[in-house]
């Protein structure tokens, strides 16, 4: 060993023993310092491991808490979803019920509404079942005939058309060879447009409800049975009656003048 050899050469043999003793003492001291450090580090590691154990425990608690909270939130979500579905069902059922109610009410209104002409009383009544909803007076009592000879006013008739600004030229739909030919009311060039006033109700009998005609001679030339309505009554009847509504004439088979 060159170092040993060098030491042997540099250090006198008499000093070798003390040098060795000092070296051993220093090494012993270093060992003691290391032992101290080891104890300290070991204690730290033990403390830290205890801390890790506590932290693992705490972590486990946190995990459980997280699961609980997430379950809570999930439950809320599900409950809210169920609640929203319930509300939706209730809302839709309510809306459907109201839609059906409206439909049935309107259908029944159309089916049960009719007009009653009480000639002696000089009144036209809008009827629903046995109840008179509204009474209107009319001028010609008995009903007056224009443009046609004497004829019996039938006991009942039906409203077949309601027109504003109508004239006698009626609309029609015809199918010829599979094609539809539609002539709407007031087609053509009839100059008598609006000849019966603004609000006109045609029936399947000679009776026509209308307001004051703009031209007397035009009105009288048009063949019909007339009640002589005011503009207000003609408008109210027009607005409040339905196509297809029955008209009951209470003085049956009366021979009109």
């Amino acid at each position: 060993m060159p170092v040993i050899e060098a030491l042997k050469k540099e250090i006198p043999p008499a000093l070798l023993a003390p040098f060795g003793a000092v070296l051993l003492a220093l090494l012993w001291l270093a060992g003691s310092v290391m032992a101290g450090k080891f104890k300290s580090v070991n204690a730290d590691a033990a403390r830290l491991e205890a801390g890790v154990g506590a932290s693992a425990l705490s972590l486990e608690e946190l995990r459980v808490l997280r699961e609980l909270k997430q379950n809570d939130a999930g439950s809320y979500k599900k409950a809210l979803r169920d609640r929203a579905r319930f509300k939706k069902t209730v809302y839709e059922a309510g809306a459907a019920l109201q839609e059906e109610k409206r439909l049935l009410e309107k259908q029944l209104e159309i089916i049960t509404a009719y007009v009653e002409i009480k000639e002696e009383a000089g009144k036209i009544s809008l009827m629903r079942g046995d109840h008179s909803l509204k009474d209107y007076t009319f001028q010609y009592s008995p009903l007056r005939v224009f443009g046609i000879g004497k004829q019996a006013m039938p006991a009942s008739a039906r409203i077949i058309s309601k027109e504003r600004f109508a004239h006698p030229q009626r609309g029609s739909v015809e199918e010829v060879n599979g094609k539809i030919y539609w002539e709407p009311p007031q087609a053509g060039k009839d100059p008598r447009s609006g000849g019966l006033g603004e609000f006109v109700i045609f029936t399947d009998s000679p009776l026509v409800f209308h307001g004051p005609p703009p031209k007397k001679e035009l009105h009288e030339a048009f063949p019909h049975v007339c009640a002589g309505l005011t503009a207000y009554t003609a408008r109210r009847l027009y607005e409040n009656t339905f196509i297809g509504a029955k008209i009951l004439y209470l003085k049956n088979k009366k021979v009109l003048p």
């Binding site: 590691a45 029944l108 159309i110 030919y181 539609w182 007031q186 196509i243």
Partner: protein, 252 residues
């Protein structure tokens, strides 16, 4: 120094050195192991801490969610009398069903809601299907030349299917020309005939009114017609195939 003493001395020195080195090595390796434990524990603690922070975040988020949903439940409109009202309406509907059922029987019929622009096809009280439709848009146009006036409303009341037409042609009425400010041709002029305008089918319900198709299905559900009832192609075909002549049509 004699040789045996030198050997003995060297042995003792060697022994002492070995003892010191072993002691040093023992403490060194112990220190190394303790340091490794310390590092492992420290890393575990760091991991636990990071996971704790993440979990705390999750818990906070879940708690916020729960609080939000709780508040939302409170915000939800709650009319405690609503169900009572619904029950009352249901009873009224039962009474109406009884009355309507007696009058309508089990017959097929069509109902048109002109305010909602909906067409219902029913058999007695049973709704078979419903569809959006378009009814008269209202309003009036006047021909300044002749003084004629038209109102584009769908009349209300009870009608019935008079005829059914396959591939109907439309004969343009005078108002269509007046509306477009075009000269009105004579009544039988061939230029009045328009193919395809009314769709594939038409159901004539009398008094000049039809249930027919439309080229503008996007406008279904809105009152845009001139008085007729417009339907989409599919419901029109269904109606054409299902509603026989004589089927009643209630328009309200």
């Amino acid at each position: 120094m004699n040789e045996p003493l030198k050997k003995t001395s060297t042995l003792w020195w060697g022994l002492l050195l070995a003892l010191v080195v072993v002691r040093l090595g023992g403490y060194g390796s112990g220190l190394y192991l303790a340091s490794a434990r310390l590092q492992t524990a420290s890393a575990a603690l760091v991991n636990n801490s990071a996971e704790s922070r993440a979990i705390a975040g999750d818990i906070r988020a879940a708690a916020e969610d729960a609080a939000f949903f709780g508040a939302l439940t409170e915000l939800y409109p709650e009319n405690k009398g609503y169900l009572r009202t619904q029950k009352a309406i249901a009873e009224e509907v039962d009474a109406l069903r009884l009355e309507a059922g007696r009058r309508l029987g089990g017959r097929l019929h069509i109902a048109v809601d002109t305010r909602a622009n909906k067409l219902y096809f029913k058999k007695g009280l049973r709704l078979l299907w419903e569809a959006d439709c378009s009814v008269g848009r209202g309003g009036v146009i006047k021909d300044r030349k002749t003084g004629r006036t038209w109102q584009f409303t769908t009349p209300r009341g009870e009608f019935k299917v008079v005829t059914k037409i396959d591939s109907p042609a439309w004969i343009k009425p005078d108002w269509a020309y007046v509306e477009n400010k075009e000269p009105v041709p004579p009544p039988l002029d061939p230029s009045r005939k328009v193919e395809g305008e009314l769709g594939a089918y038409a159901l004539n319900i009398g008094d000049g009114y039809l249930i027919h198709g439309t080229k503008n299905e996007a406008a279904l559900g809105m009152p845009v017609s001139h008085g007729c009832i417009r339907l989409g192609a599919q419901p029109l075909e269904n109606l054409y195939k299902s509603a026989p002549v004589g089927t009643k049509v209630y328009i309200y």
